[in-house]
């Protein structure tokens, strides 16, 4: 028996006139894969039938550039915005390193130096209601998503004014206001959360009838995560239900001391997208403009309801895995190769060569960012540390969850509860 073609998917674009305004009984939508089940094995691989085309974007961008020398990829305002964001990321991370060695922050701190193009290239295209999910290398994702530098620095210092009240730390940056859904310490565990956020977006549009809800979710993770089960499980579910999500792989070739080539049977991660029915794109992650072009297409796809995309960004971290990593395994030649492709230097060169900005403009931005970062450190220094009364707060959204004590009252009604000394 050959499986029949399933029903065509209801168009998810909000402007479709076929969808009634109020539908108490759902129409027979098929929520699933529309790929045919080919029972006869074909020896010839028909490349035209493959749903996801693998494109080396640097080629596309070069083509665009050569067509007309007068059309630039960005305007002056956009250029300066991108530059400022990357400088903020770099300056902030450098300051983190300083503060760590001065004993102001502790634990595991993972710095993003060198990868700024990915964060800036993607996140600067998002609206506030779009969500971002990251792993432990999340300071710059938070900053790009417009979480104030003060809040991030305070969080790193462990103060109450931090974005998570000092309870999260470096690896758990959250912001409800800016829709930053974390910040996860275990790799891979953020990807299902991102898939859930994308699911909510689709649910809001189709069940809650918020027709203009086109929120997109971006999930950032590294090359090591791409060997983890949760990655594959979520690629499957996102493609199956056409969720508005973009999976962004920040392939910096190293998972602590494990080279990507030593850990992965097929190191070309972008190829894993088409296996699940979504496009897989590889992009030079050291060039913010290339990343931005790819991001525009991927985010646009998600917004239009066409489903997920897997984007592999080839990037590099200039520092070790964390501030505790001696970074002895990486070849100095490799480091030098990527240091020469510093995304900030590249963008600066582009802006100046194309007369989008002058040296003075850029220096002014550098100075401004220095002041922002200094201010953030001062603010964090002066902020109070959490008192013991904060210990039991926020464990439960509804503190009745601590239960009923021997005296018949809820534990959270015990006066010692607000002091943080109650028995729970």
């Amino acid at each position: 028996k050959i499986s029949t073609q399933p029903f065509s998917l209801n168009p998810t674009s909000p402007t479709s006139h076929d969808r009634p305004l109020v539908s108490p009984v759902p129409t027979s939508l098929f929520l699933g894969s529309t790929r045919k089940l080919r029972l006869s094995s074909s020896s010839k691989l028909n490349l035209h039938r493959r749903p996801g085309t693998v494109v080396a974007v640097s080629d596309v961008v070069k083509q665009k550039k050569s067509k007309s020398t007068h059309s630039l990829l960005i305007t002056k305002e956009e250029g300066l915005e991108l530059y400022e964001d990357m400088i903020l990321g770099r300056a902030f991370e450098d300051m983190c390193a300083q503060m760590y060695y001065r004993g102001k922050m502790f634990g595991f701190v993972h710095l993003y130096n060198g990868q700024e193009a990915v964060s800036t290239g993607f996140i600067k295209l998002l609206k506030q209601q779009d969500s971002v999910v990251s792993t432990y290398r999340d300071h710059v994702h938070a900053l790009s998503k417009r979480v104030p530098a003060r809040a991030v620095m305070s969080e790193l210092f462990g103060k109450t004014t931090g974005c998570c009240r000092g309870q999260g730390g470096s690896m758990h940056m959250f912001s409800r206001e800016h829709n930053l859904l974390g910040g996860f310490a275990f790799i891979g565990e953020g990807i299902p959360v991102a898939t859930g956020a994308a699911f909510t977006s689709k649910y809001k549009r189709e069940v809650l009838k918020e027709a203009d809800c086109d929120h997109v979710t971006l999930a950032f993770f590294g090359d090591g995560t791409c060997n983890n089960g949760q990655f594959f499980e979520c690629l499957n579910m996102a493609a199956l239900w056409k969720l508005p999500i973009v999976f962004v792989v920040e392939n910096n070739l190293w998972a602590i001391g494990m080279s990507h080539l030593r850990a992965t049977s097929d190191p070309q991660i972008y190829k894993k997208g088409p296996a699940f029915g979504m496009p897989g794109i590889h992009v030079d992650g050291m060039d913010v403009l290339k990343v931005r072009e790819v991001a525009k297409e991927a985010i646009g796809r998600a917004r239009r309801g066409e489903g997920p995309t897997l984007v592999e960004c080839e990037t590099y971290r200039f520092r070790g895995h964390s501030l505790a990593d001696p970074d002895e395994l990486r070849d100095p030649a490799e480091k030098a190769h990527y240091a020469a492709r510093d995304p900030i230097t590249a963008l600066k060169k582009y802006l100046i060569e194309n007369s989008l900005a002058s040296e003075a403009d850029l220096k002014a931005i550098d100075k401004k960012i220095d002041e922002v970062v200094e201010d953030a450190v001062e603010f964090a220094d002066e902020s109070p540390v959490p008192s013991q009364s904060q210990l039991l707060e926020n464990v439960f959204a509804d503190p009745k969850g601590f239960g009923i004590g021997p005296d018949g009252r809820y534990r959270c009604e015990d006066p010692k509860f607000t002091e943080g000394t109650a028995h729970v």
């Binding site: 929520l31 959250f174 299902p192 898939t195 579910m237 199956l240 969850g401």
Partner: protein
């Protein structure tokens, strides 16, 4: 023939009772389904995710008919990827939905331990209170009829240490529906433990809307001589033993603790203060089980009221064997409960 005034009075009373306390009879899985359906009607953000919950209607029929009524997106058939779809439920809960995640068998949720422990329990705290996770994770667990070791697991003992979650176990159609509704309405992540062998219990439950408090225990049978604390299926073994005990002249007080995390120390404490003897009867393993925690909590809070050391009857610390005879002696049987009470009351 006209009725006598007395007969009129009687029929008036019955009619009033019928109207005020009207009830309908159903099975436990239908009660769960009713609770779920009512909450889904009440709040559009409530959705279900799990394997075979949609078109198949749930492997224990708890979600039967819901997909037809609410659509494939609200009753989502997931691929077999527990860790990821539980995480997806958590992400959906963080962004405004109220998902009910079903583990086809609770044992499968071991694959979702990463998400349950790290994200479900912790995210409200590590985000400084910014994100709530009003998720309900439910499914059947417990020792069934020769289902084999892996399908006979009791995860309440594994999950009990996770800070930030609540755990409840239902045992009757009444509290199944009530706890399901309360769990869905709660802002906290709640794990609702059902039992494979209790789905066909029949009871008459009220027609009107009601919930059961998530943190309270249930007094099943008041008594004077000994406090028996139990939950889920063991409640029925205890009640069976109670019949024998009553015939032998004992007066056991039976409490279904229902809330496995946190414990209702008020109901439990009042009982201990009255009877001074405690027997815990549970289905999870002895090592690190709910009973172990309960003993610690009671000893800490009510040690002065105890006349004898607390006794705890748990399942044997073995993987549940397939053979029926062996499986029977793995779990606590009514005869053992009777013996334990006699021993305790000596």
């Amino acid at each position: 023939q006209l009725l006598t005034p007395f007969q009129y009075l009687l029929s008036g009373i019955y009619l009033t009772r019928y109207i005020l306390y009207s009830r309908h009879e159903l099975l436990l899985f239908e009660a769960l389904q009713e609770g779920l359906e009512e909450e889904m009607e009440r709040d559009l953000r409530v959705c279900v995710m799990g394997e075979d919950v949609g078109h198949y209607g749930g492997s224990y029929k708890v979600t039967k008919g819901l997909a037809k009524k609410f659509g494939d997106l609200r009753v989502l058939d997931t691929p077999i990827a527990e860790n990821s779809f539980t995480g997806m439920g958590i992400g959906a809960a963080m962004t405004g939905l109220r998902p009910v995640v079903e583990g086809m068998n609770m044992g499968f949720l071991l694959l979702a331990f990463n998400q349950i422990s790290n994200n479900c329990g912790m995210l409200h705290y590590t985000s400084g209170g910014q994100f709530t996770i009003p998720i309900v994770i439910r499914g059947p667990g417990g020792v069934g009829r020769q289902l084999g070791a892996e399908h006979s697991q009791r995860l309440e003992s594994y999950f009990q240490s996770i800070p930030g979650i609540q755990m409840v176990a239902c045992s009757t159609p009444y509290n199944a529906k009530g706890l399901m509704k309360a769990a869905i309405r709660s802002e906290n992540p709640v794990i609702l433990f059902e039992h494979v062998l209790l789905y066909n219990l029949k009871e008459r439950i009220p027609d009107e809307d009601y919930i059961c408090n998530l943190e309270e225990a249930e007094m099943v049978r008041p008594g004077e001589h000994v406090t028996i604390l139990t939950y889920s299926r063991m409640r029925y073994h205890v009640m069976q033993a109670a019949k024998t005990l009553v015939n032998k002249g004992y007066d056991p007080e039976v409490i279904d603790i229902r809330s496995l995390k946190p414990f209702d120390l008020y109901t439990i404490g009042n009982s201990v203060k009255k009877t001074h003897r405690v027997l815990i009867v549970e289905e999870c393993m002895r090592t690190g089980g709910i009973g172990a925690s309960l003993i610690a909590a009671i000893t800490k809070n009510f040690n002065d009221y105890l006349d004898a050391p607390i006794m705890c009857l748990s399942s044997q610390d073995v993987p549940t064997p397939y053979a029926g005879t062996l499986e029977e002696v793995t779990v606590v049987q009514p005869a053992q409960i009777v013996t334990a009470v006699e021993q305790l009351c000596q």
